[in-house]
């Protein structure tokens, strides 16, 4: 199988993703690492809380990976997302893509994170000093 999708409660291991997608045929690996930022719209963020509708999220991530394999000549795709409470600097998402040539890997990786943010049922709550808010919930 050339797709590895996981939703994990434990810290993500970037090297595990990179090593998993590495193949002797690959000329390059593109990796997107999401990190928890310490501010949003000028407000200090203390931590984030991620929640997933796990079964559907796995299914939607799998759809993205299959679409990537259709559209680009890729070797392997790893897509790991974390859930639970994350502090600033921690990693909620890792996407690693290997291909013979870099253009396909770059384009596919970009497509993966952009689509994940639009379709995969995972939600984040920003926790501030004076309250908390579900991101994108209100107009």
């Amino acid at each position: 199988m050339n797709i590895d999708i996981k939703i994990l409660k434990e810290p993500l291991d970037i090297n595990v993703c990179i090593n998993w997608v590495m193949t002797p045929q690959s000329g390059g690996i593109d990796v997107f690492v999401g990190t928890v930022r310490n501010h949003t719209k000028g407000k200090k963020v203390l931590r984030l809380e991620f929640e997933a509708y796990e079964r559907m999220a796995m299914k939607e991530m799998d759809k993205i990976a299959r679409e990537m394999l259709q559209r680009w000549p890729l070797h392997k795709i790893a897509m790991h997302h974390r859930v639970g409470i994350l502090d600033v600097g921690e990693v909620p998402v890792v996407i690693a893509v290997s291909a013979a040539h870099r253009d396909a890997a770059f384009d596919a990786c970009r497509y993966a994170i952009d689509t994940l943010k639009q379709t995969v049922p995972i939600w984040k709550k920003e926790i501030f000093e004076d309250g908390e808010v579900w991101v994108a919930a209100h107009p």
């Binding site: 929640e51 997302h81 943010k117 049922p121 995972i122 939600w123 994108a136 919930a137």
Partner: protein, 78 residues
């Protein structure tokens, strides 16, 4: 019918799932109307989708009693 809630919808339902009595073979659109009647705050969020058996469902989809139904507010993963 059991309806699962996530993100902001959990805060609106004040629960991770609710039990709703509905007519047989209700459409997604009709379910949304019923929910919005009971939980007017649903109209205040940016948008929301209904998932039936782990798939996004359109308003004219019909829900069977055995289906797993979830309310999907705007996603914000990554």
């Amino acid at each position: 019918m059991e309806i699962l809630a996530f993100g902001i919808v959990k805060d609106i339902f004040l629960a991770t799932s609710i039990d709703l009595i509905v007519d047989e073979d209700i459409t997604v659109g009709a379910l949304k109307q019923k929910l919005e009647g009971r939980y007017p705050q649903l109209r205040g969020i940016s948008s929301y989708m209904v998932a039936v058996n782990d798939e996004y469902a359109s308003d004219d989809s019909i829900i069977k009693d055995s289906d797993e139904v979830a309310i999907i507010p705007p996603v914000s993963g990554g």
